[in-house]
């Protein structure tokens, strides 16, 4: 059985999201009932590479580096296709940068960033562990959100 989703004129298609993480990706992109464009979330579809995957299609959505970094944290295998006039004009594989700026609050309740108005910074140690630049604690990728 295959599912066909209508093409979008402009926006983004996020492919190769680990199965089950599609909803989280939508949350990171602030997609809720108030979003005006067309939205498609396909879950647990067959993938040659990963067995199963999720896909998110968003009409009218634009990307910036911060969103890119956020998606990289929760869906490191994702590919982002940028669509203009029904054509893929750019295809980018997400990658976790060396320095994550303002993509997650610090999970340490005693970190200064949870009390003062300051952007959080996490240093990427090896794509799995991240050190808070301020409190110096190390967190696993899943702890950052």
């Amino acid at each position: 059985m295959s599912i066909t989703v209508e093409e979008i004129d402009n926006g983004i298609v996020i492919d190769h999201i680990p199965a089950g993480k599609g909803v989280l990706v939508m949350q990171l992109l602030d997609i809720d009932q108030n979003y005006k464009g067309m939205v498609a979330l396909v879950m647990n579809v067959r993938s040659n590479k990963f067995g199963k995957k999720d896909i998110v299609k968003l009409q009218g959505k634009t990307m910036n580096q911060k969103i890119f970094d956020k998606i990289a944290l929760v869906a490191p295998t994702a590919t982002i296709n940028i669509i203009k006039d029904f054509k893929v004009i750019e295809k980018r594989k997400v990658a976790i940068p060396q320095k994550l700026v303002d993509v997650s609050r610090c999970p340490n309740p005693k970190c200064i960033t949870n009390f003062e108005s300051v952007e959080t910074i996490f240093l990427n140690l090896n794509d799995s562990f991240f050190r808070c630049y301020y409190c110096e604690r190390v967190f696993e990728r899943e702890e950052l959100k």
Partner: protein, 300 residues
């Protein structure tokens, strides 16, 4: 080697530390009578005796005036933010020494204004000048740090002095044994980091055996970081050094402690020649003179 601020022991490499230790040695008997027209401010949001007083003494011996800010009598009580307080004080002083219960506070302070900041302890995170004076003391008594067998004993989870120290010891190739009550072990990421970075030789155990130890480094249970003070006290009583343990130790063992000590060290230990924690505390002065001098560029 001039640094902008000293926030974490991670900001220093081996050469930086060696330079600080050499400079501290030169400052052992240094006393400047003339004022040099600089001001050091101490902003302590948590209690302190040794760190605060030794910073003030260090400044005075370098001819630097001090501003002593007290959280109880400050605008913090009126709700002023930490950021605003730091900005205000930086307008009056040339260098800021900050102790704060929140982790990362000193790093944050170093970024919201232009004056150098020395971290005098941020929550359970770092206390870099304590580490420098600890390394200085070990070197003074043992002539080296490399291959010295050191046992870190006590609350290794919340004591920032321990978290800073293990990094410095590993950098210099000491053999480290960690002994702590259950639940107060050193964070695994700290151990993993020093093993990966310095191939550190670290043994973790839960029994006190001092037979092969050259340096015993103790610390108290950080009661103020426990939600249940009774629980903290109970652990403290169960986990103290006694004379029986010390009888099995080497004759030239040195016993260090960042102080204040509470129940973890019986009074009779103070009288032993092995107990050097009071001279260790005194070493804070030349070491902090070296750091202040470097950050203010006094030797330039």
């Amino acid at each position: 080697m001039r640094k902008k601020s000293l926030i974490s022991i991670r900001d220093l490499d081996k050469r930086d530390i060696e330079n600080y230790l050499k400079l501290a040695e030169r400052y052992e008997n240094h006393f400047t009578k003339e004022k040099i027209g600089k001001v050091l401010a101490t902003l302590f949001f948590e209690p302190s005796t040794r760190t605060n007083l030794s910073f003030q003494t260090s400044a005075k011996r370098l001819g630097i005036d001090t501003l002593n800010w007290n959280v109880q009598f400050s605008s913090t009580q009126k709700g002023e933010s930490f950021e605003d307080t730091v900005k205000i004080v930086s307008g009056y002083a040339d260098i800021l020494v900050i102790r704060h219960p929140l982790e990362g506070a000193a790093r944050f302070a170093s970024e919201v204004q232009d004056k150098p900041v020395i971290n005098a302890g941020d929550g359970a995170n770092q206390h870099p000048t304590q580490t420098l004076l600890d390394l200085y003391t070990i070197k003074k008594y043992k002539q080296k740090i490399e291959n010295v067998n050191i046992t870190l004993l006590g609350d290794l989870k919340y004591a920032r002095a321990m978290k800073s120290l293990i990094y410095g010891l590993a950098m210099f190739g000491a053999n480290i044994t960690l002994v702590s009550p259950k639940g107060l072990e050193m964070d695994s990421y700290v151990i993993r980091e020093v093993k990966e970075k310095f191939s550190a030789n670290i043994i973790e155990q839960n029994v006190i055996d001092l037979s092969g130890t050259d340096v015993l480094y103790l610390c108290r249970i950080q009661k103020e970081r426990f939600s249940d003070p009774y629980e903290a006290e109970k652990i403290q009583k169960e986990f103290r050094v006694n004379m029986d343990y010390l009888k099995k130790a080497k004759d030239d063992l040195i016993i260090m402690h960042p102080l204040p000590k509470v129940d973890e060290v019986p009074k009779e230990v103070d009288k032993l020649k092995n107990a050097i924690y009071f001279s260790q505390a005194k070493n804070g002065v030349p070491v902090r003179m070296a750091v202040i001098s470097d950050l203010l560029g006094l030797g330039d």
